[in-house]
Symmetry: C2
Subunit: 263 residues, 2 copies
């Protein structure tokens, strides 16, 4: 069996595809679903009845959307990660100390997942970051936190993420060439931090550092972002990288202290 | 067809039951699943392959847990609710002004769902509230925010919530008698706010007010919680109810302003 594709269940795959379509479009009617999912309206109705009955989808008049159950399950994912519990306090602290936006990021199938973020007094772009958490399409190569993660994944995995997702352009500064990205990841590993110089949003800079556990397994990254006007070159290239690396260091130590405590 | 139970798909229901079992136990092996789900290990394996492939479950060695995709879908549920965007700022403000814990709550199938919460300087019980967000079993009748919601649901719906969930006891002060609860809900409607006097956690008090939209539809509630030592009777019965009702009022006005703006 090892070399064969594992068996799967078609109706469950279809239900998952329906959920993904609802996630992409925020709300859908049966007719909207029928455009993407190759099933009759009657069969789609049966799927929707099932997903509503199980509490994963809610129906309002003719429109379906994702149910609050996802919020609860999602909070469990967040809460079971020690990185979240330890990182939350450090990230609040970073936002408070700098006035910028601080983020705690991990990855899932080559995409960015925000575990926690905190907005400082001089916070800019808050709406974007709040919505960002709800989007599966957020890619790793255009942000500092994402590049800090990519730099510490095995090369084979990075190549497969690129094959899967491509290197979409966000701004004129986004790295969209595979070899340029690999050179950048090499530099990130050498210097210990990643920079995003208007690669995600024009006018926005960010600095990130990776977080590893005791076994040197990559857990995620921590970052600060602020408008360029707040981060002139000396602050962006010289001061902030050390600050962010120190915070990553604190998170790593706290995680180990927690592990030792639970032994 | 109207009087018949709508048709559903058994394999999708099973997949949902598997996800719920993983949610309850946080992480499971195939053998754990087989205890609750009436399927052979081989069939369960096929279900798990499917859920992993669709990105809803992750496998680490022999253990399955919910995938970060739930976090992203859950953030979408949160983000599509105007109540969250408007309430977030008010709740941060409440925590900052009082030093207590402030919560923005909605309901799903008779259970409490935390949309947002903010911890003030004198915050107590933070860990409980953080974990609370990840639990489906949190019931409406034992908290101030939950009772504020129950008081504004149709009586038929409240009776059906009670039939479904029961009135579980949390502390010696929890209301566990149906008619006592209905008297309490009547009082909450008259006075415009709900109190929780050590009904959820011994030593903890909370005050909540309901939030309605322009069409007088119930959206959720906003609340403050603090230890009894911080909330002596005068503050608990006299000052805080007005404070919390004022904040609910602000949220309602902001929601309507937003609606008018989007027309």
């Amino acid at each position: 069996m090892d070399n064969e594709t594992p068996r799967t269940i078609q109706s469950v795959e279809r239900a998952c595809a329906i959920l993904e379509k609802i996630h992409q479009d925020r709300e859908v009617t049966l007719t909207d679903l029928a455009e993407d999912i190759d099933l009759s309206l009657g069969s789609l109705q049966t799927y929707m009845n099932t997903l509503c009955r199980c509490g994963f989808v809610v129906k309002e008049s003719r429109t379906y959307s994702l149910a609050p159950q996802f919020l609860i399950y999602g909070e469990q994912v967040r809460n079971t990660l020690p990185l979240y519990h330890v990182g939350r306090k450090v990230v609040d602290n970073m936002a408070h100390e700098t006035g910028y936006n601080a983020h705690l990021i991990t990855d899932h199938n080559g995409r960015e997942v925000t575990l926690y973020q905190s907005f400082g007094e001089d916070s800019v772009g808050t709406d974007l970051y709040i919505w960002h958490q709800a989007k599966l399409e957020w890619q790793l190569h255009w942000s500092a936190s994402g590049k800090a993660i990519l730099a510490h994944l095995p090369e084979k995995q990075v190549r497969s993420v690129i094959r899967e997702n491509g290197l979409q352009r966000r701004t004129p500064h986004t790295i969209t060439d595979e070899e340029t990205l690999f050179t950048e990841l090499e530099r990130i590993r050498e210097q210990g931090y990643a920079l995003n110089d208007e690669e995600e949003i024009s006018g926005l800079r960010a600095v990130a550092a990776p977080i590893h556990d005791q076994q040197e397994r990559l857990l995620g990254s921590v970052s600060l972002s602020a408008p360029k006007s707040e981060l002139p070159d000396d602050r962006f290239y010289d001061e902030l990288p050390n600050y962010v690396m120190n915070k990553a260091n604190i998170i790593q130590v706290e995680l180990q202290a927690r592990d030792v405590n639970e032994e």
